[in-house]
Structures are given as structure tokens and as C-alpha cells.
């Protein structure tokens, strides 16, 4: 049971952290739960379909269908996270100010919630399909251990969700005026880490060169399989033995998105109808 718990926990962890960050990043936006959990639900449904067609997907495009599929959804997520961050760098300041006043309706509907919903959807799609395949294997293997392994699976999902909830509530403790800077940084790193993972998949498919298989090795210092290593892997793209191509994609994502966020930021004085001292420091 414990082994199952750990396996499922590992798979759920990444998606859960992504959803936790995205929920924090969309704080104060009306209907965000509907969008984001809707995206999650679609992702779970998609995971069932992907698991069902795992064999077919694997045999697509001369046997590299799985890698291309994973890389494609990772890069789609990178694009959505990038879109969100660029949008936030254009509107974030208004948002932080508005959210403390009556301006919620101003930002309602303009926030790229669909982008964030899609990010959650693909995160669940990718990780969820592996959980489904694994638990399906457990179920068909039958025997009297299957029930206890299923229980382990359920507990693993719960533990994974708990970590996601922890990061969400941790982020929610940040005062509103800093929150979106923090989530923008987190999302930038999340996107860079995903781009690096996508590059590894394309390298596995022999579509991209690896450019050196391990540029450095910090596995002795912090194993990527440890809980901390894995959380950092999701949050900042920590890789104990990164391939050159992963570093290239990581750095390129940071630089390009960072530059775009800067370049496309609208410079205007903050609109203040109240003196700064009258603004409540804590938001809803």
C-alpha cells in the first residue's frame, strides 16, 4: 500500500503544485474556481482517454508519439503561462489596486483565465494519464492486495492534493500588493522548467540533440527523487544532471518571457483615487 501511495503521490504532486500556483495567481478574479477546476476536470477526462489510447499514442509517428505528445502539451502550457505573465505585466498593477476597491468588474472576463484553465488541464492530462494507467494495472492484476493498493492510490492522491493546498495557502498569506509579483516569478520559473522537460522529451525522440547528457551532477547533493528534489523540480525546474538542451530551453524561456514581460509592460502612473495611506493593506 505504501509503495502505491508513494508512486501515485509523485505523479499527483506536479499537477497539484501547478494548480496551487495558478489558483493563487488568479486570486480575486470572479469565477476563477469554475474556470480552473473546470480545466482540471477536463484534464482528468482527457487523462482517461489518453490512458485508454496509450498504446496507439506510443506507436504514432514511428514510435515517438508519446514524446511528441508530452512535448507538445508541455510547450502549450509554457505558451499559456507566458501569455498569462505578459498579460499580468501589462495589467497587474491595476489589478492589485482594483482588487482592493470596487474595480473587480473592470478586470472580470479580461483576465486570461482560459489560459490558466488550459495549463491546469494539460498538467492533469499528462500526470493523470500515468496514474490511470498505473491504477488500471493494479486493478487488473487482481489478488487480495489490489484493494489495499487502491487505498494507497487514493491516499497518494490526497497527499498530493495536500501539498498543492499547502502552496496555495502559503501564497495566499502574501499581502495582495506583492502576491502577483511572487506568482509571476513562480510562473516564469514553472514555464522554464516545463520547457526544459519538453526539450528532454524531444531529445528522447531524437528530434533534438542532447548537447551533453549531464552538464553537471548534483544528485549527490540533492536527489531529484527526494521530496524536496521533486518539489524543486516542479517549481524551479531543478534537474540533478541536466542535459545541455534542457539548459538551453530553460534559459531561453527565462530570457524571452522576461524580456517580453518587460518590453510589453505599460508605463503609466498608478491610478489613485484614494491616497495611498487610505488603501487597505489587506485584500479580500
Amino acid at each position: 500500500m505504501l509503495a502505491t501511495l508513494i508512486i501515485v503521490f509523485r505523479e499527483v504532486l506536479e499537477a497539484s503544485l501547478v494548480v496551487g500556483i495558478v489558483m493563487a495567481a488568479s486570486r480575486g478574479v470572479p469565477h476563477r474556481s469554475l474556470w480552473i477546476f473546470g480545466g482540471c476536470a477536463a484534464g482528468v477526462l482527457g487523462a482517461l482517454v489518453v490512458a485508454g489510447f496509450a498504446t496507439e499514442i506510443a506507436s504514432l509517428v514511428q514510435g515517438i508519439g508519446q514524446e511528441l505528445f508530452n512535448a507538445a502539451i508541455l510547450f502549450a502550457a509554457v505558451a499559456m503561462l507566458g501569455w498569462h505573465n505578459i498579460w499580468m505585466s501589462r495589467h497587474g498593477r491595476d489589478l492589485a489596486a482594483d482588487a482592493t476597491r470596487l474595480g473587480k468588474d473592470v478586470v472580470a472576463g479580461t483576465r486570461p483565465l482560459h489560459a490558466l484553465a488550459l495549463v491546469c488541464g494539460v498538467a492533469l492530462l499528462r500526470e493523470g494519464s500515468e496514474v490511470v494507467l498505473f491504477l488500471y494495472g493494479v486493478a487488473v492484476s487482481g489478488g487480495n492486495s489490489a484493494a489495499s493498493m487502491m487505498l494507497g492510490g487514493v491516499l497518494g492522491v490526497a497527499a498530493g492534493l495536500a501539498v498543492g493546498a499547502a502552496i496555495y495557502f502559503g501564497l495566499m498569506a502574501i499581502p495582495m500588493r506583492y502576491l502577483f509579483s511572487v506568482t509571476s516569478w513562480l510562473i516564469l520559473l514553472l514555464a522554464a522548467g516545463m520547457a526544459s522537460q519538453g526539450a528532454a522529451f524531444l531529445s528522447a525522440a531524437d528530434v533534438l540533440p542532447s548537447l551533453g547528457d549531464s552538464v553537471w551532477d548534483t544528485s549527490g547533493l540533492l536527489s531529484e527523487r527526494s521530496l524536496l528534489g521533486q518539489v524543486l523540480h516542479v517549481l524551479i525546474g531543478y534537474t540533478a544532471r541536466p542535459a545541455g538542451i534542457q539548459l538551453v530551453f530553460f534559459a531561453a524561456t527565462l530570457i524571452i518571457l522576461g524580456t517580453l514581460m518587460r518590453a510589453l509592460r505599460i508605463q503609466h502612473p498608478p491610478r489613485r483615487t484614494l491616497p495611498p495611506s487610505a488603501l487597505p493593506s489587506k485584500a479580500v
Partner: protein, 138 residues
């Protein structure tokens, strides 16, 4: 990747000194996602896997890798074929050489690794983490 993000972000910037038209705002994420998918699939179609790398065959049998230790040449790209002879799906994974690929029951998958520096690289079945093996690059 660099180019398409820039290319996509530009139109939004040009079209919107103050605000982005609603239609563009609504469509851009879909366009970005579509291009992400197209990039993955397009690259796959444009650069089909080469077939001249040395090939290594591994079977998963009764939750064991057979063979569980494989010597490969360092400094050369290697093609690994993993066949799952068990009844349960497996996921061939390695943190050391960054690979993860689901191997459905009764199927085989192909993946490319390296060129590796000399050393030992562990791989495992992510669905049965006690099932482990090593690639030894010399």
C-alpha cells in the same frame, strides 16, 4: 521556441497600445496552444528518427529488467528498445538520463539516449520502483 513566442506576442503589442481587442484577446491563447502543438508535431514530422545508432534491447519480465546491467559505448547516441513482457503497464524512467516513457503491457517502445559521458546511469520502472537497472557507459 524563441522565435514563435516573440512572433506571437508581437501582434498583441502592436494592436494594443492601450487595450487589446476582445477578439484577439480571446483567440490568442488558442493560437499559442495550437502553435505549441504544431511545433511538437511539425518537428517530429520534419526530423524522423535516425536508425543508425547502436541498439540496446531490454525486456521487463516478472518485474525485472532483463538484462539489468547493460554496457554501452560512451560518447555515442544509443537507441534503447524496451519490451514489456509483463501483464501490467510499466513506465521506463531514468532521472540520470532524463527519460520517462510508458510501456503498455505486451508492447515495446523505442527511445534515444546520450551521447553519455562514461559512468553508471540508473533506470527504473516508475510503476514498480523496485525494478531497477543500470546503463554503464564506457
Amino acid at each position: 521556441m524563441a522565435r514563435w513566442i516573440v512572433a506571437l506576442a508581437r501582434p498583441a503589442a502592436v494592436a494594443s497600445p492601450g487595450r487589446t481587442p476582445a477578439s484577439l484577446r480571446a483567440r490568442a491563447p488558442a493560437v499559442l496552444a495550437g502553435l505549441g502543438l504544431a511545433l511538437g508535431l511539425g518537428l517530429g514530422a520534419a526530423l524522423p528518427a535516425l536508425a543508425d545508432e547502436p541498439e540496446v534491447a531490454i525486456s521487463i519480465r516478472d518485474h525485472q529488467f532483463v538484462p539489468s546491467e547493460i554496457n554501452v559505448t560512451a560518447g555515442q547516441k544509443i537507441k534503447i528498445v524496451v519490451k514489456n513482457e509483463g501483464k501490467m503497464p510499466s513506465e521506463f524512467e531514468s532521472v540520470d538520463f532524463h527519460r520517462e516513457k510508458v510501456v503498455p503491457s505486451g508492447k515495446e517502445i523505442t527511445l534515444f539516449v546520450g551521447p553519455l559521458n562514461p559512468g553508471s546511469y540508473e533506470f527504473f520502472d516508475d510503476f514498480h520502483p523496485d525494478t531497477r537497472g543500470h546503463l554503464v557507459a564506457k
